[in-house]
Symmetry: C2
Subunit: 698 residues, 2 copies
């Protein structure tokens, strides 16, 4: 009885809207075959561009009306429209696509529901309220919400559609029927029923084309990039990567020129001093570069109105998205209220337990790298040393490079599993933890063989050969893989889809008009994902890894082969455009990430600088000690090794013990958020109402 | 005409109050000679203890009524009472003392006028309002304001007394007459006229005696101290010093025992390995100690309700006291408003200019240390090496130790002058800058001679002798100086005062009752000031310096003389009580300082750890290389030196370039304060009114 009532109620409202919307949809889509899709988008793009694509299985048209209940795709579209989204249905080869756009009012509503914190004109981040929208700072391109924020709002709206009725709604799809229970999210239901296949952000064609012209194909700008536009289109994390890549490449010009001069000019009697001088310049250069990068990063964040104070990074993260999760773990503490001593003890216990877990995991990774990977690498290096023919050598290297791909993939999977045990505070922490662990693998892989040639065999010719090979092979291979593999994948998926379609509709006309919907093309493109698994990191992992390995290669063996900097500079200039092209053309639009720094990579780069100081010293000893005059006795060597171990302890221990106890941090965070929540509304009214007064007052 | 009117008005109100107050003063002080001063204080101490003493010249009683105008001491007392202070007049030998106490209402009024930020129950710091006093957290001892806050309030009230009338008030003192102009501060006026001699915080006798019993004379507690009570009585900075000293001494037990074992036990064949093992343990110990100290410091700050987030130290300082000064320098920027680009450029220019100035000053200091001090020190070390007789050696050392006192005093004066050129953001920055510079002098002075013995002459016997001498001499000398010098000064001043008095009042009865006022005794005590000048630092400078030099001595030569740690531990146990005694008995109560960490000293300690790694390595090489087998060739030595220079660059350069541009920081600070000011009142009402609701809501 009650079921009928609710479904009737649903029918009563839902149907009228669905009629209206369908007619609207049809009128805006008079004939997809005649009017190109892109023209349609630009027409509607004036108000709000389509930014999210939902892939659903195509309904077999013949079976409409059969079965009991509503067609779930129509219900989905209706519900989307009820929420305030603009929906565009596009039929693909054998899937159907819903393109979603949201007017700013709809986004504002969702942002207010999400209690999104946004920067206001007085510079404080406050909870968004639609009525006070004027109080909030707009993006550089004039829109109220950044792409990160929009994406969060879309997600909230799409997954927030629940059955508000009192009883289940019967939905049918082709000849299947199932119930949409009260309180259940429609999207989750349809995803578990495998009707909605995927949800992905889609490109905004006008902006993409503009970026393509101004950024990816603007080859003569060398290292200049339209960072603000990249930020507006791709979000903070990707823009930060490209800003870093650009600045790094620009700074590389100095050591590149210096290295080339050192290689080409003969300094006569000063030749012996030239290398150490180069070494000192390079180290200073690297240290200064990273300091200036940190400055630039904080400048960028200030420009993008992201509050992220240097030093208290955790603060930012708690405040924004991840506070709730941290809060829940603190929840139990707050209920017990009074006795503060116990509270602190519990925090201390949890803190040290988490630290022990992380330490255990790190130990596992480090031990397995030393016990499993090191012998393998040394064996390869030894083989390479003993083989005479150049061709065989090249083949061995190529084979080895392919072999280690599997090695690292296994390592990455193991790391991901280990990290799941860790109680890391949020997803960015987890991602950083993964980066450290996986980089350990790559570090061993990339450098140990070269060090073997350099230090044990003092074979500088092989060393230089290996460096050149690695730089060239890695450049060529990486760029090929990066840009061709996605295209191959895309082509394969396209080909398979067309073949499927042909099979089903044998005898129909040629498939020329199959491919006029861009959504489907994008759907066939691969995701911008990391090679080690897409759970914690996206494609930026590979891009940063490439940069870090290159940086390590040129820094650690700077004294053995100074012109490597020139190779790297050239490589990076092409890399900027290649990465831009890749992200604009080859991949789907990536999901935006909140993180606003280069994160763990900064520490890795700085670690590489310290390592490079040691390796270069060893190289110089080897270089100038050809005659064996300066034989180092075992005692002296032991003391030197000890000194370096101690320096490591000095700088490593500081990381093991955090400066601030967790409970102090938690208290601080709790206080800060509480205050902001309390005075949020009051402040808003003051700001939007009395802005004139404020200005006068000062 | 108008002058008369105003003075009449003043007379009309002022006289009645002055009559009332005088009678009150007399009734509360029936006969200073009969009723002991201390009993009086305990009687009134129930409400508010006397905490500030004002020293004024004694009025010659005979001349009352002569001259034109009001007696300025009476006007001062009247004005104090009008503000709400409790005033107690005490006649001294040839000065008169006003003891001031403030009821909590008066303090609250002043705090509200000062817009003092205080921690509230929801954990945020808000501007104090007397009506909402319940919203603010009380101190551990139940009082509303901490000693730091009370001192600021006193200062505000005392210097805030201005002539509110329209014309000048004529004041007379003895036979001098002068005008108190409208809008002029009475205290400033009286200070420039040399009538008010001094203003200083006075001891609260009950609390002082309690502390004396529980802290300074509680010898069996070893390293335990009542830190919270010290904090309540002396403020944050001094409590932090004693907390650090206590924790350091506690941690010293481990290396002390280890060092003694190493000295006393013969390890046989393992003897060769024992020293390097000791060295590694000591370094790890030191690094861990400072990490745990940072944790402890942040725990203490959380307990004392001081908001000071690790990493963003500057943030705290701007927010609290020094924002206004920073603000004023930004003021010009804000007026030009719109064009942000120029604003940033100006900030950048100022930032780099300030940095250049500091760099120049540092260069001057470093160069003068190397060019002037180094030869002197080496000459002394060489003399010491070449002299045979032990007695002459001891004499030379003692003479040298006295000679360098002048050297450092000159260095300190030069540093202070240089720092005045620097545009440091606040007084604590300036103090830190001074600490770094002066420590450079002391570092050279303390260690270069010892290094000379160790490395150049490989004379380990002399080295050990020098270390023992320095540790014992410095301990004995320092403690003697610390505790006897103030007493000598005090006795001299007392003696002179009594003699003066006797001279003036020849023939009067014996001076037994002269000395019953404790205020005067305190006035004769010396100020707790730094030996290098009292402008930027107080006595804590010397205490920290002593600790740092001791730490450097035991760490840098750990391998040459392991039992030094035991000496240091013993020394520090006595040091804790000696310093407590000194600060409680020997000196005036120090002016409280806001700073909440050990500041520059932390960096100095960590620098000493790094230096100690290098010196110990050098010592080990010398120790194990008696036979000269491991001769280091010049080439290898050069490369090793280069490596260390590079490591220095790596960690030094990071300090030269700040991570966050000044304008970003300024923006952040501006925003934070603006927001807090705006929502302050609203929040307060919520907190004090709706605290019950808040608790329920969670």
């Amino acid at each position: 009885m009650s079921f009928f009532l609710t479904s009737n109620k649903y029918f009563g409202t839902g149907n009228s809207i669905s009629n209206k919307s369908r007619s609207a949809g049809e009128s805006s889509h008079p004939a997809p075959e005649f009017l190109g899709d892109s023209e349609m988008e630009t027409l509607q793009g004036e108000q709000a561009a389509f930014e999210i694509g939902v892939v659903i299985h195509k309904r077999v048209v013949d079976e409409i009306g059969n079965g009991y209940g509503y067609n779930c795709d129509e219900v989905l579209v209706d519900e989307f429209r009820k929420v305030g989204l603009i929906v565009d249905r596009v039929a693909g080869l054998h899937d159907e696509f819903l393109k979603l756009a949201a007017p700013v009012e709809t986004l504002g509503q969702a942002a207010a529901e999400l209690k999104l914190k946004k920067r206001t004109h007085i510079g404080v981040d406050l909870q968004f309220e639609w009525d006070e929208a004027d109080a909030f700072i707009r993006q550089a391109d004039g829109s109220l919400f950044s792409w990160c924020e929009r994406f969060r709002c879309y997600n909230h709206m799409i997954y927030g559609i629940v059955n508000n009725g009192e009883s289940a709604v019967a939905l049918k799809f082709n000849d299947r029927t199932f119930n949409w229970e009260p309180g259940e999210s429609l999207m989750w239901k349809l995803e578990t029923e495998a009707i909605v296949k995927e949800l992905f952000p889609i490109h905004d064609e006008t902006k993409r084309k503009l970026l393509l012209k101004r950024w990816a194909l603007n080859l003569w700008d060398l290292t200049n990039q339209p960072i603000d536009e990249i930020h507006a289109y791709y979000g903070t994390k990707i823009a930060t990567y490209f800003a870093f890549l650009g600045m790094y490449t620009k700074w590389l010009f100095f050591p590149a020129v210096f290295g080339l001069i050192l290689q080409l000019v003969d300094f006569g009697s000063l030749q012996l001093l030239a290398l150490p001088f180069f070494f000192i310049c390079i180290t200073s250069w690297a240290v200064l570069f990273f300091q200036f990068w940190k400055r630039k990063n904080s400048t960028l964040l200030a420009r993008w109105q992201i509050s992220y104070s240097a030093g208290s990074e955790s603060g930012y993260k708690y405040m924004d998205t991840e506070w709730s999760s941290f809060h829940s773990s603190v929840g139990s503490v707050r209920t017990c209220g009074g006795n503060k001593g116990k509270e602190h003890e519990k925090f201390q216990r949890e803190e040290w337990f988490g630290r022990m877990m992380r330490f255990r995991n790190d130990a596992i990774i480090i031990l397995s790298i030393i016990c499993l990977q090191l012998p393998f690498e040394l064996a390869y290096a030894h083989l390479y040393e003993s083989i005479g023919s150049d061709v065989v050598k090249f083949g061995l290297t190529a084979g080895y490079l392919f072999a280690i791909q599997y090695f690292t993939q296994i390592g990455g999977k193991v790391s991901v599993k280990l990290i799941k045990d860790e109680k890391n505070k949020n997803s960015e922490y987890r991602a950083n933890s993964l980066v450290y662990k996986v980089f350990g693998l790559y570090f061993m892989q990339s450098y140990i063989g070269i060090l073997y040639h350099a230090v044990l065999h003092r074979n500088f010719m092989t060393l230089r050969q290996v460096i050149i090979q690695r730089l060239i092979i890695s450049e060529v291979l990486e760029n090929l893989m990066e840009n061709s593999l996605p295209y191959v994948k895309y082509s394969y998926r396209k080909y398979r889809a067309i073949r499927h379609k042909r099979k089903r509709e044998k005898g129909y006309a040629a498939g020329k008009h199959y491919f006029n919907s861009r959504v489907e093309k994008e759907y066939f493109k691969p995701i911008y994902a990391a090679s080690i698994g897409d759970e914690l990191e996206d494609g930026l992992f590979d891009d940063f890894l490439e940069l870090a390995l290159q940086f390590g290669m040129i820094m650690m063996f700077a004294c053995a082969f100074p012109p490597a900097f020139a190779f790297a500079a050239l490589n990076n200039i092409t890399e900027i455009r290649a990465d831009a092209l890749k992200i604009l053309v080859m991949f789907r639009r990536p999901v935006p990430r909140v993180d606003a720094t280069i994160g763990a990579w900064l520490n890795i780069f700085q670690f590489l600088i310290v390592v490079s100081i040691c390796t270069n010293c060893a190289l110089l000893v080897c270089l100038y000690d050809r005659e064996g005059k300066w034989n180092i006795s075992p005692g002296l060597a032991a003391i030197l090794i000890m000194e370096h171990v101690l320096l490591l302890i000095k700088f490593g221990f500081s990381r093991i013990v955090p400066e601030e106890p967790d409970w102090v941090k938690a208290n601080r965070m709790k206080n800060a958020t509480q205050a902001q929540n309390m005075c949020s509304k009051q402040l808003l009214r003051n700001i939007s109402g009395g802005r004139g007064m404020l200005v006068k007052a000062h």
